[in-house]
């Protein structure tokens, strides 16, 4: 008999951790649902998935899912994930960050992970504000908006997360919104299939801080505005520039096949060992063999 819904609860630490910390109606939980369904579709073992998150409301996500989870320091999730991925190239490493986390304090790690094209799936939950700390402006807060640290108006121009990721060299860049939870799910799935650095920007909202300050209303209102103010890439192509300007453009913005970092490094290992010749055996005692085999055990399931 057909199962209507993936067994999402099997992926949740449902016995202990629910309901979560987020405000009623916060979009972060919706992103979590999309992530889980994407992983479920990929049929990968939970043991082979790591979720590394930063600090912020978004960063709290890692508490709730039954993967290998690590809640790191603010802005540094990608750097932690880079080390983990180097150690475990076969593991699927998801990195969940808020807009501040990914682009303010973490901006450098973001562009460098993209440049290296290391096989991480970076999910930026963009609510255009620092939610956790109470509504200070972030690098994606719209110009003119109010924030607790922009009481007159925000004079800074926002980054385009996706443009930045593309300029820095990410091999896969996509965007959707929490209104488009199914689309988000597909984009995440495709990002995870990509061998290389994949960025999925999930446009969300923070009614509690941004919404209150800017009178953009309840979760229902903000959800509706995501619905109304976004267009698919295909639809956007038909719009005038002026019309496009304030729209959220959804879809896969970049998808290139480029050399992936850990794969390239594997070649370095090969070359180095070949160069070192028969010395290798001697230089690699039992311990190494064990570690190496541990890493090999969980080879990436090709999907």
């Amino acid at each position: 008999m057909k199962r209507e819904e993936p067994e999402i609860y099997e992926y949740l630490r449902h016995k202990k951790k629910f309901p979560g910390v987020w405000c009623a109606g916060c979009g972060i939980g919706i992103v979590l649902g999309s992530i889980i369904r994407a992983i479920d579709h990929l049929h990968i073992s939970k043991d082979d998935v790591a979720m590394i998150s930063g600090i912020g409301c978004s960063g709290r996500m890692s508490v709730y899912v039954d993967f290998n989870t690590m809640h790191t320091t603010h802005g540094r999730a990608l750097a932690f994930a880079t080390g983990l991925k180097m150690a475990r190239p076969g593991m699927h490493v998801l990195v969940v960050m808020g807009d501040g986390d990914a682009l303010a304090i973490g901006g450098n790690h973001f562009i460098h992970a993209a440049r290296r094209n290391i096989d991480l799936t970076a999910i930026v939950i963009n609510n255009n504000i620092y939610g956790m700390t109470g509504g200070q402006y972030s690098p994606t807060t719209p110009q003119g908006a109010l924030a607790t640290t922009a009481p007159f108006r925000n004079i800074e121009r926002p980054f385009s997360t996706c443009d930045l990721a593309m300029a820095a060299g990410a091999s896969y860049v996509a965007r959707s919104t929490v209104y488009h939870a199914r689309e988000l799910e597909r984009l995440i799935e495709r990002g995870m299939r990509k061998a290389g650095f994949a960025v999925i920007e999930a446009m969300s909202y923070c009614h509690t801080t941004f919404g209150k300050l800017n009178r953009t209303g309840s979760p229902v209102d903000m959800m509706r505005s995501l619905q109304e103010n976004s267009v698919s890439l295909a639809a956007a192509a038909k719009l005038e520039d002026a019309e496009k300007k304030n729209k959220i453009i959804r879809g896969v913005l970049a998808d290139h096949d480029l050399p992936e970092y850990t794969a390239e490094y594997a070649k370095i290992i090969e070359d180095a060992q070949a160069a070192a010749g028969s010395n290798v055996a001697a230089a690699q005692p039992e311990r190494d063999a064990r570690l190496a085999s541990a890493q090999k055990r969980r080879v990436r399931e090709e999907v």
Binding site: V63, M70, A79, F80, T82, K85, A87, N108, D288
Partner: protein, 372 residues
């Protein structure tokens, strides 16, 4: 291998490889860069991985990530980079992730004297990150000891699931001495602890164990790691009954094992009127000074500290009990001297300091012995 003339930084690399280090994430900085450079060549040969990160913050982050992934991991830096690592150092201490951080000290503060030696980061190694936290810091005095203490650093980090700082200095890092690794063939290497409990029973912060094992990600144990204060399962908590045992355990694992962690040498302290307590490259000056002093018939003892943090109060108190005077030479304005003064009383302690980028000369210490 047979005898070679080896630099301290190279000995650190040899020690790391011997200890099973299989990951290095770093960012170059004088006078530590040779460690990165050598490992970039050596690690892939043994199937290890090297990555140059975008900065020192990312370097230590990657090291922690790799360690969680199951690789013994380290980074190397100097003062400015060490300052940048402080936040993630605290994370490693709080989340109890084994790793080794090498700080080849150069003249500070700030950019300071980049190519000159110093011991200016001694207190920073203990207190650089915010909040109380356990830490271990070791100081080699020679090229050979850089090799052995690097191995010890990895061993201690695995034994106590904690970041360990190898606090070298420019003199030790760049000095070349005769070195034969074969002489240390029987040195023990501690492997990552494993667990035999099934995943459902596994608590990464099990409060009933002094040092619960850290199972690598990807081994089927699916638990949570956080820099927030956490319960036995690793989940954030504000509950006092969950926080308390964590504090207890995380300090007890160090304090209850001081006899293993606190390494030192002593020489002629039994009947010494004056004792010199030294570490790092200044210990070399101290050895020379003590010999000169003994020729002049001073009763001088020498304690060479290999471990500076944690500081073994009781032991040092006992060792120095008989001495009237304790001399602490340092290439800083008196940092470990503060701790020694605390333990032995200020009256007993004389500091010998130098911060102009030159190694303390034996004569400086000898003079202090003579007036002591």
């Amino acid at each position: 291998m047979t005898v070679t003339l080896m630099q301290g930084n190279a000995a650190c690399v040899e020690g790391a490889l011997r200890a099973g280090c299989r990951f290095f994430g770093g960012y170059p900085i004088t006078p530590s860069s040779e460690i990165a450079e050598l490992l970039s060549r050596r690690l892939p040969v043994v199937g290890g991985r090297f990555i140059q990160m975008e900065d020192e913050i990312a370097s230590l982050a990657a090291v922690i990530g790799a360690s969680v992934g199951g690789l013994k991991a380290m980074t190397a830096t100097s003062g400015p980079g060490f300052s940048l690592m402080q936040e993630n150092l605290g994370y490693a201490a709080a989340a109890e992730i084994p790793c080794v951080i090498v700080d080849v000290q150069r003249g500070g503060p700030s950019t300071g004297l980049p190519t000159a030696p110093s011991q200016g980061d001694v207190m920073q190694a203990r207190w650089g990150t915010h909040g109380d936290h356990p830490i271990i810091a070791l100081c080699p005095t020679s090229v050979a000891e850089t090799y052995t203490l690097t191995i010890e650093a990895f061993n201690l980090s695995e034994d106590y699931r904690t970041p360990v700082i190898l606090l070298m200095d420019e003199v030790i890092g760049h000095m070349r001495e005769a070195f034969d690794p074969d002489r240390y063939g029987d040195i023990e290497v501690v492997d990552r602890m494993t667990t035999d409990v099934p995943p459902e029973w596994y608590f990464p912060y099990d409060e009933t164990r002094a040092v619960p094992p850290l199972v690598s990600f990807g081994e089927g144990f699916r638990y949570h790691i956080t820099g927030l204060l956490h319960d036995q399962a690793g989940f954030p908590t504000y509950r006092q009954d969950e926080i308390e045992p964590w504090w207890q355990r995380v300090f007890a694992k160090i304090n209850d094992n001081l006899d293993r962690i606190f390494m030192y040498d002593e020489d002629g302290i039994e009947d010494a009127r004056t004792i010199v307590i030294a570490y790092g490259s200044t210990a070399r000056s101290a050895v020379h000074a003590v010999q000169l002093a003994r020729r002049r018939r001073y009763k001088v003892g020498l304690i060479t500290l290999k471990t500076i943090w944690p500081f073994h109060e009781a032991l040092i108190e006992e060792l120095a009990a008989g001495a009237h005077r304790v001399i602490v030479p340092e290439m800083n304005l008196g940092q470990l001297a503060l701790e020694i003064e605390r333990v032995l009383g200020r009256a007993k302690v004389r500091r010998v300091n130098r911060v102009d980028g030159e190694l303390i000369a034996p004569r400086q210490i000898l003079e202090a012995i003579e007036v002591a």
